[in-house]
Subunit: 223 residues, 8 copies
């Protein structure tokens, strides 16, 4: 079924076809557009509707414009419309290189939790002090999926990749300056990882990494 | 355990730690170095040792230099040293955009099969004739992992991503010319995919995609 | 005939030579300069003068400064000076990947309509839900020219290209983030399209695409 | 109808859907693959099958391998399999900047002629001697479509764009050195053309430009 | 002689060594630093001290802070400290592609005039209407140096280069959007000019072009 | 010992392992996070805690939030928490190309002084007036480490490299415009230096250069 | 007058319009094409016809194919067809950074000499040993035009620029490796030169630099 | 003293000024040029003359052309002319990521040994098996300088940086493929290293790294 709002065509069969409802990318949509989409989805029975990349002000405007409940997660810049209890299974580990990577990590963490996964957060484990990572190697080796988040040189992904048995999804971040070129250094680093088992998503795409990790975790636990 | 050959330090615990033995990247190693590494691995009990990116001539030289059996898969540019029967489980689908992407596809296919996965090949399903892809949507929706291989504009990954429930690993290829810039166009295209559930590996990295798909397929089937 | 305003030399023979009057690119001109150019054109008999890339505030200043009528189309960021009734012929289809591409689409749509073409808008038909596009394939196959507007990975152009008999003009947009690099990903994707029949204009250049589509549509219908 | 050769899936409905049969891109296919595809197409009634980017040696191998007639056009690097008389209509003008752009021009010219268009060649009309171009302005203003081919700085496209009433398809070439960066300078130049009515195809893509120009010319003349 | 202000070391022999006093680049210096440098130069007899890339507000602050006279040229973003009558010789022609290039043109024009050259301004002569340029070919062929200023595709430089006997200094501007990449398209275009006799300075560097043109003009007229 | 603050894991053994305490990169951390980290470090006995890339406002907020003394060095954008007397040894020379490079120079200078090194500042010694540099060649040849800071074309590093016996650490700066591309021109220039003995750090990374120079100076003087 | 050879249109009025005959860029033309163009030019009275970027083998083929005399200058990769005595005036100095830049230097030197200029060669004066350059400062300050040729970091142009009163034309070369990126480092360096009076031509374009220097030298000496 | 060979100016005071004789970069010089330079240096008393980037064939030609002894080190692609016993001091550790990085490592090792340093080689210690590196942490912490050599993602530099007290010189290599872009990925990675104390040289520049490490080691040991 497709709902045509003029500015958007809602793909209501996505859950059946792909295992999850549409997620609303908030960055370049107006509050009015977001509210319209979220309301239409809720009217058709969608719960825990994820609206990503939305700042506090726009989230407030959306919340005011809709007749459904909304929860804003500031650290993750995510608004959850029509929230409902979520049953969580399995384990996804999110490991980050530095404190500055937290917004991307939290986008991943809130997405993963809302999609029904248990999440373990290991933040500020950059490779400049490699023991910080190694002391958590048990968490890494028991995960069903690992998300490695790093800016600057992105070396974390390769080191984590060498310590895991499960798929590692690497998220380059735009944290850094100069020859970082907006995240390019971490992106290229992760694409060239010398560790097998690492795949990569777009710069700062915490949501995308969590979506994939959730698919892996759930396929595993579904059996 | 580590075996030090001077020019290489073999990581013999990798199977325990990561679920698979080391794979030998053949491109910038000499036949003598490859033969030395493969022999040492075989001496320590490794079977189905994968040597990737090796041309026919170097493969012949390696085969002549070692006392173990070797099988060369020309289309995949892979040499399998100390081959042994492999039990295959699950299903990985490899879908490609064009005939020219075949070497990368076969690198992925032979890797996946050698690691113990059933593989379905859907080649030349580029989006210029979208029906060619849609007629195989059942294969896609029943896969445990899909590898999407495309050069040029790499649009295949997004369309495939919209048809699957399982993780999709996208492999950009260097097929094309001009503003393709050695695979950059397909790489950027896949990193920016509008479909959730798509992660990306390096340009032409068929091996890497298969390694990840195998991890996903096996975690799923192991339960 | 040339009118020299000092800061601009108006090319009053352009309609005879090229089939349409000069269009004023508003972005880097002052309101005073724009008003001067528009007035001089109107004084010389030009109607439906298009001023593109002009925000609401500058449009207001221009409108106040001239003695001719002006119409502002906010969604398209276009000001039409000295508007007059337009007779429309043929059919141009504008298809877009997502809601966020709307400003570029509307720039194309208003330009095309002002130049005398019938326009059909098919918005939010991104390839992640390919059925949304396929359900409109009749519109595509009966168009005289199609404009395909997409950001992110720009895959839409190739899929549309495979469904059309008429020329397809692809417009990459700067919608996206990270490895989108300001529209580069969609631009390269479209330049490398595996579908024949697709040509490309500059990033976000809705006006340019509409100008070309109008030429094609009118040549066709003029016979 | 689809014919599956394993390494290729032939899209036999393309002529009905898109107005022309599939064209075989020869660069990264083997002679055996090309011969297989061409034979299958001929068996299904296709005439004047275009095989582009094929060098003399590979063309000879293909010709030897098939039971149909083949004509090789060396300057265009095109092989025409199963040639048949072509009825030509309308007028496409191909204008080039320099002698070194000829291979790309001829790829465009032979493609356009084979698809049924009359072609006028205006070669070596670079803007360093602008009178060479201006003395042909009648040819340009009477064309139904113009293909502008230039390497180096690609300025030709803008100047031609200012002299035409019909759509101009610009083809950047890789002719040049140094800061030409494989055709990037001409590509960016053409994408940023200050003349309206210019759209762009991939670097060195003479075939693609001719395909589009043919669509425009034939839509026009079909009425 | 060197004057050391701590934050700057003034090179007071530059006029003897290079033919002109130091010019102060205002963009990344504070008003206090600029005032200090200008005052020290004036104290040592410098007249017509050029301060470039300085906005109105900073110019006002500098003027207030020094005890010498200052003249601000808003269109050129240049402040002239300690102004004095200038004797002008020869002829430099500044030709620009569009109205939006004026700030760069005026930076060049004011610099050239202050350094003692007669300047002819030919603005908005873009190649989309090539006759606008050709109608001024006498001015071009009688110049001692020509400065060609253009953004977008920068084609103007090549066409001008083909019409001149004197050296042409090309200035790419950052005017444009999208695949202009901040002036890169015009820069590459001009570096690859098919016309001999064209050299290039940095993007938007009107000052630099005028400095060189002045050297050429004065060497010529000095004989 | 590791102190886990949730958003940060403090590596308290870094002084023993690497010779200096952790340095806090302030740019993308909140004042609350910085205050928390600085306080925890001070509680564990750290003195002269360096917080780099912190503007005046954030520095004020941090100072207000902690119970330890703080000193703000505005020109260097550095906050020193828990300051203590420093014994300085050896000699590091910091040489810069222009006045605009001062913020990066001061970041280096304050870092080096805080880490216990004597610093000589030679500012505005750009190669356009090479005598300004040559007149200080004694300072250069007697240094234990030299830091060469330059934007634009970065030529200073090569000239300095040819005058020194000690290691030269080159710092490209983002000072410039146009084809400077945010510091890329100086970065590439320095990486390609024709002088042996020059290594490079990230664009604008004054801190990093000082940290390395300090290591070299202290190893030397420690003997 | 224009001579149309089909593959080339000869612009026989160029000497009158621009002060020099056409120069034949040999790189991407066949020996047959070059011979045809040179013969036609000689038939029309041209002497000292320059054919650049031509290797020994192609030069031999051209020489054999024409009935006019030809002189090959191997170090410059230049063939001079229909040579005649040249009267030389003025002084152009060519200064290079290293031995490896010689082919570009000689292309410039032979071009300049053939066009009638006296040339002084100062080779291997790289800035790593700045005294090598300074010891020749008299030559530099008495030149009418200076050509500065350098690869790697291209610092030579800025240092030379600071020592000259005449225009400096900088030629980046592709000499180097790694982050040189085919001459990009030297190109960007020269475009960002901190010395006024420096303009830039394409990478390795010795011919272009000499052509411009010749114009400057001759305008000066013509008075 | 300067020796002028025409194609080269030998800087015979470099040892006094910079602590080491000139090193001959062999890549783009002819055997004749190299032989000339080496002979002149030997005639003036230089021993252990380093000729880098020279293949076996050219080394043989040089050896045959000179009357001094020459030693070729194939793995390092270095020829040592006029070899003499070297007294070695201190300790430089060279650590590499993979077997394929050996040529660059050996260039560094032979350079360092020839310049009088003891060298410890730790090869194939890539971070995918982090224990291989950690088991050598004693070597790293007792070094006077460490050279970290890695291609692909270059993560090694950051991890090594976190384990050392001495300066780390990072050498990115061009080992890899695809999004490695000729060493760009490792280069950017190392420039953005999260570990303090890491500076970077050009891609594949083993010589440069060794030269700097030698300076550091010798300054340290000289006291």
């Amino acid at each position: 079924m497709e709902i045509d709002l003029g500015y958007a065509k809602l793909d209501m069969d996505r859950k059946a076809r792909q295992g999850a409802d549409e997620v609303i990318y908030g960055e370049s949509k107006t509050a009015v557009q977001i509210a319209g989409i979220a309301s239409a989805m809720a009217d058709n029975g969608c719960e825990n509707i994820l609206i990503t990349r939305i700042d506090a002000e726009k989230a407030k405007a959306v919340t005011a414009a809709v007749s459904i409940e909304c929860e804003y997660r500031a650290a993750a810049r995510i608004l959850i419309a029509n929230p409902a209890p979520v049953k969580k299974t399995g384990k996804i580990v999110i490991v980050s290189a530095g404190t500055s990577d937290m917004p991307v990590c939290e986008e991943a963490a809130v997405t993963a939790e809302t999609l029904g996964n248990n999440v373990v957060r290991l933040y500020d484990c950059g490779v400049a002090g490699i023991h910080r990572l190694l002391s958590h190697s048990d968490e890494l080796s028991s995960a069903r999926a690992v998300i490695a988040v790093a800016g600057m040189e992105g070396a974390l992904a390769s080191v984590v990749g060498g310590l895991c048995k499960c798929p590692v999804i690497a998220v380059p971040t735009s944290v850094g300056y100069g020859a970082n070129f907006g995240g390019l250094s971490a992106l290229l680093s992760m694409l060239n990882s010398c560790s097998s088992g690492v795949s990569v998503v777009n710069i700062d795409n915490g949501f995308g990494a969590a979506f994939i990790a959730s698919r892996i975790n759930k396929m595993t636990t579904a059996k």
